[in-house]
Every structure is written in C-alpha cells, then in structure tokens.
Amino acid sequence: MRDDLRVVAALAIAVSFAGCEHIYGPTSPSREWTTHESARYVLYTRPGSFAESNAAALAEVLEDQYTHTIATLRIAPGARISMFLYNSGSELDPPLPSARAGVAFPETNAVHAVSFAPLDNDLRALLTHEANHVIVQNGLGRAGTSFMNEGLASALISERFAEIGPTFLRRWVRTNRSRVPPLVDLIDDEKWSSHSNEGYRASAAFLAFLLEEYGADRLKQIYHAPSADFAGRLRDSYGRSLAELEAAWLARD
C-alpha cells in the first residue's frame, strides 16, 4: 500500500506539470468583439471602445495602406485582413510589450494591435506597419531576415494622411546620425533586437532609400536572403557593396 501511495504521488507530480501543451501552448482568444467591415479588412473592436467609434476612420487609413503597399512593391493583392484592436496590451496573454504595440500573423491574415485615443500619427504608423506584415508576406512570402521583415513594413507606410513613412524616416536619420546602428549589424539576425527603436527605424530608412532610388524589383531580389547571404545578394542585385550603399544612403539623408 505504501508503495502504491508513492507511485500515486509521483504520478500526481507528473500530471501537475500537465505536459508540454500547458507550458508552451497558446491561450484561447477573447470572444468579446464587435466587427466593422471594409473592402479588404475586418476590424474587430471592443464594444464601446475608441476603436469601435472610429472604425470607419481607421479602415480608411488601412485601405489606403493596402493600395499603397501593393502598388509600391508591385505585388498581387492578398487576402482580407482581420485587425483585432485592443484597448490595452494587458488584455492579451501574453501582454503586448508597450502601450502602443502590435503583432502580425501573416499565415492567418490577422493582426493584434492596441488602439486607444487619439487617432494620431503613432496609431496610424502602428496599424499600417502591422498590416504591411500581412500584405507583404501574402505577396512575397517570408522575409529572410528580421531587418527586412520589420524594416520593409515601416518603409512602405503611406504618407497620405501624415508624414509618417519615408519622410519621417529620412528626417530621423538626419537628426539622429549617431544613433543609427551599422547595417552590418542590422542584417544579422543574431544581433537584431526586436525592442530597438533605432534598429527598426534605421532598417526602414535604408530600405525606403533602396525603394526610392532603385525600385521594387531589385528589393524583391534580396527580400528572401538570410543573414549569411544578405551582403552577397545585395552586391549581386545592386552592383554595389553594403558599405557603399550605406555610405550613399547616409550621404543622401
């Protein structure tokens, strides 16, 4: 009997860990939503929220972004995007890392984003950046580096409603030259930090430079290159080294 109890106790300990599923598995999504539909988006908003009352204005920004991105990259339009707009990052488990933050899920055409008043440039930039992840990956597939994945989503931000895209990035580089990380570090996924504003902005500014100066077709040639191949693929496509292009970019901006 004593042996049996020991085994039962051991089994209880094992079961209490509940296996990998309960350690690594995702939580269930929230079900409290109202929806607003536009041509290429479904906006999921919290009942009574700022996002619900401004859904039409948010959809207008996002529709413009969809048109802008597929025209700039010359890619086919993809699927309809579901934008889940939260009042706070703490409504999610795990919570989003900052007050205004978002993440994209290109495989299921969805976005999580925190959306609270006012409808300012920060909110426009956040929503359009996350939508761009889905639009670009629908059109081109998975990017080879975090540098490309995050940088291009910001480099493509439309400026119809405000100067929050390439114009903002160019100004930021001009006024923050000492904070611009070296490109050789940014293209290396081992050194990429998802919490670095400088990394996001410098990556976006350089890719916006490439798009403006050389067009979308060459950019697509380096889009899938992994870190180890990136510099070589860049040289093959642009005929100039990473250092030369970096110098040209910083001289222009």
Partner: protein, 268 residues
C-alpha cells in the same frame, strides 16, 4: 525550456520511483500477445500561427481548420510487464475554414494539409493490479519520425506550400485495463520534442526561401479500446488528440488534431 526539462525530469522520476516500488515478481496475470490493427476514421486539424514564442506564445486569434480521413496501423507485442508498440498514421485534411472568435470564413477549396507519423515505443508496466485487478500503470520511451505538409492558398494566384520533416523522442505515461476478457482499454500520454527541417515555397518567389532547421514539442493523448468478437479478432477503436508547437526561422505555429478511428485487431 526549464519547465519542459522539469516535466521530463518529473516523468523520469515517476519511472524511477515506480521501479523502486516494484514488489517481488509475481506470476504473469496477462498473457504475452502480439496484435495488429488497421483502422480508419476522421481527424480534425487546426493551426494558429505564432508571432512571439513566449510562454504562453502570442498566437493568432484566427485558426486555419480542416478535417479529413486518417488511417492508422498499430502493432503491439505485449507481455505481462512490458510492451513494444509501433504505430503509423497518415492523415489528410481539406475543407479548410478560417475560424475567428466570432465568425467562420471558408478558405479557398484547394487548401489542404497532410501528415505522416511513424512511432516506436517501449513501455514497461511498472505497477500491476494497482487498486483493482487488471489495472496496470507504466512508463515508456518513444521515438518518432514525422512529415507534415500545408498547402495554403491566399488567393487563386497566390499560394504557399510548407513541408516539415523531422524526428524526435518522447516520454510516455500509460495505463491499461485488462479486467475483462472481452474488453481491453489502454490509455497513453506522451510528451516530447522533435527536430525538423522546414521548406517553404511561395508561388510569387519559387525557390527563393532557404530551408531552415527547427523543432517542436508535442503532447499526445491516445485512448484505445478493443472488444473481442472472435477468438483472434477484436473490434478496435482509438481516440487520438495531439497538440504541438513548431518554431523555426521566422516561422512559428501551434497546431492541434483530434480524431477517432475504428478497425479490426488480429491478435494471437
């Protein structure tokens, strides 16, 4: 990872404690037998992509869900104290939908998924006749090989194909009930990890995405019941539930599958 290791250690501790708790050898209550079953049924499949691989992971609120036929073969050579088990499972899923918290939208009809699993398991029944006659509790180790594929159509002209091949190891806790001659019931719960290779192709950039290594965890629960209908034949029914998470370079997902299969088991 630390909690996974803790989980594994706990399972191994359970094995060790159980082993140390063994009473002196007794006459075998269950006869040695070899059985083979072929089964077919239905399996539902669901996938959510993950953006941040935290604990818990940041997973999409939308799941890509489908279902289809699953066929399974099971070979078991069991004795009073141990068992060798081999399983092969092939499943195909279609009829996909995108399921959000409040609505369901059909995916394009060409969307499909498949998986092929092969597993071998060695199991020891460390406690026999626990609490009641015929109830045995055991633990085991499992080796597996797997191949999975997902074909997702974004539009009629844009599509992605994903192929994942790998192999790994798991630890198993199991129970079997052989209290009655006609009905045998076995349940197992496995946790483990696999190492795999990922290949993704996008129709707009064929061959452009470099293959990458990755890995996943899995938690599988299987309950099997066999009902004797002839001296060497049994009707066999199996319920399987599997949950897994996958992580590779810029590609992460969590998937689940659940299915029921029915077939015939020949035993001697």
């Amino acid at each position: 990872m630390i909690r996974f290791i803790s989980s594994t250690v706990a399972a191994l501790a359970f094995t060790a404690i159980s082993a140390s708790a063994q009473p002196a050898p007794e006459p075998a209550a269950a006869e040695a037998s070899t059985g083979f079953s072929a089964q077919a049924g239905f399996e539902a499949f669901a996938l959510r992509d993950i953006s941040r691989t935290l604990r818990p992971p940041d997973a999409s609120p939308i799941s890509w869900r489908g279902g289809g036929v699953v066929v399974a073969g099971h070979l078991e050579r069991s004795g009073p104290r141990s068992a060798h088990l081999a399983d092969v499972v092939a499943a195909n899923a279609g009829g996909f939908t995108y399921v959000s918290p409040t609505r369901r939208t059909d995916a394009l009809p060409a969307d499909s998924a498949y998986r092929f699993d092969a597993r071998y398991e060695y199991r020891r029944y460390l406690l026999r006749d626990l609490f009641l006659k015929g109830l045995d509790i055991g633990a085991g180790l499992q080796a597996n090989g797997t191949r999975a594929g997902f074909d997702r159509h974004i539009t009629s002209s844009l599509s992605t194909t994903t192929r994942i091949s790998g192999g790994g190891l798991g630890v198993v806790a199991a129970a079997r009930l052989r209290r009655w001659d006609r009905l045998h019931v076995t349940a197992s719960w496995a946790n483990g990890e696999t190492v795999s290779r990922l290949e993704v192709h996008h129709s707009a950039s064929p061959g452009a995405i470099a293959p990458s290594g990755g890995g996943n965890w899995f938690t599988d629960t299987i309950v099997r019941a066999d009902w004797r209908v002839a001296p060497s034949a049994r009707v066999s029914m199996t319920w399987r539930r599997g949950v897994e998470g996958y992580s590779s370079n810029h590609y992460h997902y969590a998937a689940s599958r659940q299915g029921l299969t029915v077939g015939i088991l020949y035993a001697r």
